[in-house]
Each structure stands twice: as structure tokens, then as C-alpha cells.
């Protein structure tokens, strides 16, 4: 493993996951969540995971597949409506869920990713989602303090990676991935295509490789989207 070649295999990546880790995952409703790395996480056997990501996916899509195995102990997300299993686990006390406003959650991850110590906002003030968040008074105005989020491990889905880990994304599968990639000690990327350094146009790179530790090739996604199953649902 050198600075300039981070390509590895799923077997190697499996050993990166550990019991009790905080895992950040990219994606929005399963779109942009790395399917191969979800399977790899499942196969790793790691348990008591603290998950942080936009949502709970669907029971068969994205992080939803893992959540259904009851090996996550907590989840910070903006919604879990598309995964009824997550709601059931929450109501049974098997999964601790913290809801965050969606745009605040991705800013908290970004704050962690860019090394800031959190930010102030009035969004969510006075609501149930203020939880125990500190209230900060600046001049005459009060704000909620939102703490930065960082993870032990992050999993990210990219369209292309070069061997240094420079990333570009595909359409709306970009979503939370760029900041998830920046905010963890170890970032693992599943890329649809892996190309030599110098192949990507430096103007188009969305995430510089500096943030990436491991790159694995994607074997495509192994789920059907909800809209593809409309006949049955």
C-alpha cells in the first residue's frame, strides 16, 4: 500500500471493520451507498456498530440490509421511513436512533471532515430534535450548537477512482459521499471503475485522493430499486 496505489480487495478491507466502530456511510435512499462494501461489512461479522448516514435505506437496499441483521447498536440519520425494520428495532429498544435534520447532518459530517469544531444554527430549536444540544447565546440571539461528526471508518461509492483515490461521482449518487469520504480515520471507496493516475481531469475531481485509504472495484449493485418493484409494492 503506497500513497499512489491504494487499490486492494474485499478480503483485505473486511479486516478494517471492527466491533463497536463508528461507521459513516455515503448515500441517500440507497442511491450512492456502496453495495459491495455493505456485503463486505455483513460478511466481516463486525457487530455493535454505530452507524451515521443520511437514512436507513430500504430493508433490502443500502445500509438497510445491514440494519436488518440487528448488528448496529445506534444510528444517526435524518429519516428511517423507507425501512420499517429500522422503526421496529427502534421501538423495541434494539436500535438507538438519533434523528437529525438532513442538511444539518451533512454539515456536521462536513465540519468533522474539514476540521472545524461544530457550528451554530437555529434550525430545530425548540423542537424534539434539539435533544440535549447546547444552546449558545451570541449577542442577543440563541442558537443550537451542532457538534462535528467523525468516524472510525467510512464507506463511499464513486463512479471512478484513480489509484491515488481521486474520485468522481455519478449524477445524484454523489449526494453525501464527498463529505463522508473526508470525515473518517479510514475511508474505503468502492468504485465502478479504477483508472491510472493522470487519467482524471484535475478540474473534475470532486474528492482529492488525500482522504482515501483503500479502493476496491465494484461488482455493481445486487438489489432492485423500489420503483422497479412497483408491481409488487
Amino acid at each position: 500500500m503506497s500513497l499512489f496505489n491504494k487499490v486492494t480487495d474485499y478480503e483485505t478491507v473486511k479486516s478494517v471493520f471492527f466491533d463497536g466502530m463508528t461507521l459513516l456511510f455515503g448515500g441517500f435512499g440507497g442511491v450512492g451507498t456502496p453495495p459491495g462494501l455493505i456485503d463486505c461489512l455483513i460478511e466481516s461479522g463486525a457487530t455493535n456498530i454505530n452507524l451515521i448516514g443520511n437514512d436507513a435505506g430500504f430493508p433490502w437496499i443500502g445500509m438497510g440490509k445491514f440494519i436488518c441483521l440487528e448488528r448496529a447498536q445506534s444510528l444517526v440519520a435524518s429519516h428511517i421511513g423507507s425501512n420499517p425494520v429500522a422503526g421496529d428495532l427502534m421501538n423495541q429498544g434494539k436500535l438507538k436512533v438519533e434523528f437529525s435534520p438532513q442538511g444539518i447532518l451533512i454539515e456536521r459530517i462536513r465540519a468533522g471532515g474539514v476540521g472545524l469544531d461544530g457550528f451554530l444554527t437555529q434550525i430545530g430549536m425548540g423542537t424534539n430534535l434539539a435533544y440535549e444540544k447546547p444552546i449558545v447565546k451570541i449577542g442577543d440571539q440563541e442558537f443550537l450548537y451542532e457538534a462535528p461528526i467523525t468516524g472510525d471508518v467510512a464507506i463511499v461509492y464513486a463512479k471512478k477512482a484513480d489509484t491515488f483515490g481521486n474520485l468522481i461521482f455519478d449524477k445524484t449518487a454523489r449526494n453525501t459521499n464527498p463529505y463522508v469520504a473526508m470525515a473518517s480515520k479510514v475511508t474505503i471507496v468502492e468504485a465502478e471503475e479504477i483508472v491510472p493516475m493522470g487519467t482524471l481531469n484535475p478540474e473534475e475531481i470532486i474528492v482529492p485522493g488525500i482522504y482515501v485509504k483503500h479502493i476496491v472495484p465494484s461488482q455493481g449493485y445486487n438489489w432492485k430499486w423500489k420503483w422497479e418493484m412497483n408491481d409488487k409494492s
Binding site: A77, G81, F99, Q102, G103, E107, T127, R174
Partner: protein
């Protein structure tokens, strides 16, 4: 029921004017584009990271091109992709001209409840708090009453609040209300309903607009 939703969406479409940036929530709001006049050119924005969404693709949908509800869309010329942090930056900053959201309850002061029914449904808040905070004009769409007849337009919301004092307009199958300076005004009576119907099914206090267009049943 399906009909009510279409009626609400059709009325909501009149709020969308040429040249606007528009964000639509899931549920009834997602039906609004079907009723837009073809002469109107707007850009739809979504929280996952797209501006300039086009219609649902006719076939061969792309799993990596979707709206915030995860449903397949297309992109118009001049549209762009960006990350979710920038998508919400636009929303908080007031770049969205009109945001049309589904609601569970709205209070007469414009408080919005649309994210959770404790003990029953735990969907989560998604981007509703930011939309409520940032949109220049927030329109709430909902059926006028619960299935059991209980009102949803209340003095005070009984469900957990998404955001306070944010709703500018409520559109139901029975009526259109505007909320200015924390006070609610009945602006339109929808076809088939009467002022007395509306009074019966609305808990919130409201005034009548001087321009009230009362449509006979």
C-alpha cells in the same frame, strides 16, 4: 381520497410561477408538476443534490439519477449535480422561491408538524426543517381532516413540531388559507364546499379575506 389529492395538487400548481426555483416534498406535492401549464418554465431542486430536474424517464431509468424520494428523474439542459451540503445550503440561504410540503398538522400561527406520529409512524424529519427555515414561500398541502374527521388545522399542533411560524399558505381540498403575521386568513373556498363546512372542520381561528372568492357547491 385519490381525487382529493389530485384536487389539492392541481390548486397548488397555480402557486408556481414562471422562472421560479421550486422544491417539492414527497406525497401530494410530488403530483404538482402534472398540473403545471406548459408555458411555465421552472427549475425543480432536490435535497440529494440536483437542480433542474426533468420528468420521470419514459423507460430505462438510471438508478443513479433520482429525486430526494429516490424516484427516477431526468435532468434538463442547464441543470446541475452537486452534493447534499450544497443542496441544503441553497435551501437555508433562501434560493428556493417556493417549497411545497406535505403536512400532518398546521397551526394558525403557521407551525408545521410533518415528521412523526409518536408511537405510530417514525419516518424521521428528512429535510423538512431546513425547507421550513429557508424557503421564501412555504406551502403546506394536506387533506383537510383526518380519516376519522378530526381537524388538522389547529390552534396548536398536537404532533411534534417540524418548525415554528413557517407555513405561508395551506391548501386542502376544502380551502386555501394564507398565514400573515402569525394570523390565518381564509382566501379561497374550494369547489363543492361552503364557509360553514370549513368552519366546522377547522379548529384554528381564521379571518376571511376581503377578496374571498366563495365558490358555490
Amino acid at each position: 381520497m385519490g381525487d382529493e389529492r389530485q384536487i389539492i395538487a392541481q390548486r397548488a400548481a397555480h402557486e408556481v410561477k414562471d422562472g421560479m426555483i421550486v422544491n417539492l416534498g414527497i406525497g401530494i406535492p410530488s403530483l404538482v408538476p402534472d398540473y403545471l401549464d406548459s408555458s411555465i418554465r421552472v427549475f425543480f431542486q432536490a435535497e440529494n443534490g440536483i437542480l433542474g430536474m426533468g420528468p420521470t424517464p419514459a423507460g430505462n431509468a438510471d438508478g443513479n439519477l433520482s429525486n430526494a424520494a429516490g424516484l427516477p428523474v431526468t435532468i434538463l439542459p442547464g441543470g446541475s449535480y452537486f452534493d447534499s451540503a450544497i443542496a441544503f445550503g441553497m435551501i437555508r440561504r433562501g434560493c428556493v422561491n417556493v417549497s411545497i410540503l406535505g403536512a400532518l398538522q398546521v397551526s394558525e400561527r403557521g407551525d408545521l408538524a410533518n415528521w412523526i406520529v409518536p408511537g405510530k409512524r417514525v419516518p424521521g424529519v428528512g429535510g423538512a426543517m431546513e425547507l421550513a427555515y429557508g424557503a421564501k414561500n412555504l406551502i403546506a398541502l394536506m387533506t383537510h381532516c383526518e380519516k376519522d374527521g378530526r381537524p388538522k388545522i389547529l390552534n396548536k399542533c398536537t404532533l411534534p413540531i417540524t418548525a415554528f411560524h413557517c407555513v405561508k399558505k395551506i391548501i386542502t381540498e376544502m380551502a386555501v388559507f394564507a398565514i400573515h403575521d402569525h394570523a390565518m386568513v381564509l382566501e379561497e373556498i374550494m369547489p363543492g364546499f361552503s364557509l360553514s363546512n370549513i368552519k366546522t372542520h377547522t379548529e384554528a381561528d381564521f379571518k376571511l379575506s376581503p377578496q374571498l372568492k366563495e365558490t358555490s357547491p
